[in-house]
C-alpha cells in the first residue's frame, strides 16, 4: 500500500494505492489520522488506485470521517472503482460520505 498527500489550494488530497484490507487498514488509518491532525482544512481521499476494500477498510474510513465531522471539516472521497463503489453502496457508506 502506498499513501501520499498533496496540499492544493484550499484542501489536501490523500492518494491511496493498493488494497484497503485487514492487513493494511491500520496503516492507512494511522496515516490518515496523522494528516487530519497535522494539516488544517478539507481533505479529499483519492481512491482511484484502490482496487479492493474490505470491512476493515470501511472501518478506517469511518473513524477518519468521524474525526473530520467532529472538527467540522469537510472530507470527501473521489475516484471509487466499481467494485469498491458496490461495497460502499451495500454498506451505506455511499450515503454518509461525500463522494465526488
Amino acid at each position: 500500500m502506498q499513501i501520499d498527500s498533496e496540499q492544493q489550494d484550499d484542501h489536501t488530497v490523500v492518494r491511496v494505492k493498493g488494497r484497503l484490507d485487514t492487513v493494511h487498514a491500520k496503516t492507512f488509518e494511522a496515516s490518515l489520522c496523522d494528516t487530519i491532525r497535522d494539516v488544517p482544512g478539507a481533505i479529499v481521499i483519492d481512491m482511484s488506485q484502490v482496487d479492493y476494500i474490505a470491512s476493515s477498510g470501511l472501518r478506517s474510513l469511518l473513524i477518519a470521517g468521524k474525526q473530520m465531522k467532529a472538527a467540522q471539516r469537510d472530507l470527501s472521497l473521489s475516484g471509487l472503482q466499481p467494485h469498491v463503489r458496490e461495497v460502499f453502496d451495500i454498506s451505506g457508506f455511499a450515503t454518509i460520505f461525500r463522494i465526488v
Binding site: T22, A54, I63, H83, E86
Partner: protein, 155 residues
C-alpha cells in the same frame, strides 16, 4: 472431530485444491494469494475473484478473531477448499474452533449519517449481499462455511 478438518463431506470439494492455515491474522495474505493463483489458473472473471476474496477475508477474520480462545490455539485447524462447479466458483472454510454461524446474524442497519454510524459490523452484510452462496453447517465438531459466486452473473 475428524482427524483432519475439511475431510470430504459430499458437498462438492472432494479432490479439489486445499490450503491449511495457522490461526494467525498474518496468514491472510497467503490465503488471498492462494485464491488469486487459482482464479488465474481457472480464468475466473475479476468480479468473481473480488467477491470471493472479500468473502474469504471477512470469514477468516471472524475465525481468526473469535474461533480460538488462547487455550484452544494449540489444537486449532483451519482449512480452505476451492472447487469450480458448473457455473459456480466455491470456497469452503473449515475450522475446529468455537461454533459460529455467520449466516444467521442479522445485517447491521445502515446509518443515516457519519455521526450515527457505528464502527464495524459490515463484514457479514457484505458477504450476504455479494455472494450467491453463503451457507453454514457444524459437522463433526467443525464449522463449515461455504461461499460461492456464480460465474455468469458476477458483474
Amino acid at each position: 472431530m475428524a482427524d483432519e478438518v475439511g475431510a470430504d463431506s459430499g458437498d462438492g470439494f472432494a479432490g479439489g485444491d486445499s490450503l491449511a492455515l495457522a490461526p494467525e491474522l498474518n496468514e491472510l495474505p497467503r490465503a488471498a494469494g492462494w485464491l488469486e493463483a487459482l482464479a488465474n489458473r481457472d480464468g475466473l472473471p475479476e468480479a468473481v475473484l473480488f467477491k470471493l476474496q472479500l468473502g474469504l477475508e471477512e470469514a477468516l477474520v471472524n475465525v481468526l478473531s473469535y474461533a480460538f480462545p488462547a487455550e484452544g490455539k494449540a489444537r486449532a485447524q483451519i482449512r480452505l477448499d476451492y472447487a469450480r462447479a458448473t457455473g459456480l466458483a466455491r470456497l469452503r472454510i473449515t475450522d475446529n474452533g468455537v461454533p459460529f454461524d455467520p449466516t444467521c446474524k442479522p445485517d447491521v442497519v445502515n446509518a443515516a449519517s457519519i455521526e450515527e454510524a457505528e464502527v464495524g459490523g459490515h463484514g457479514i452484510q457484505l458477504m450476504r449481499h455479494l455472494l450467491d452462496e453463503f451457507s453454514y453447517c457444524h459437522v463433526d465438531g467443525n464449522n463449515r462455511l461455504i461461499l460461492g459466486t456464480r460465474l455468469d452473473t458476477a458483474g
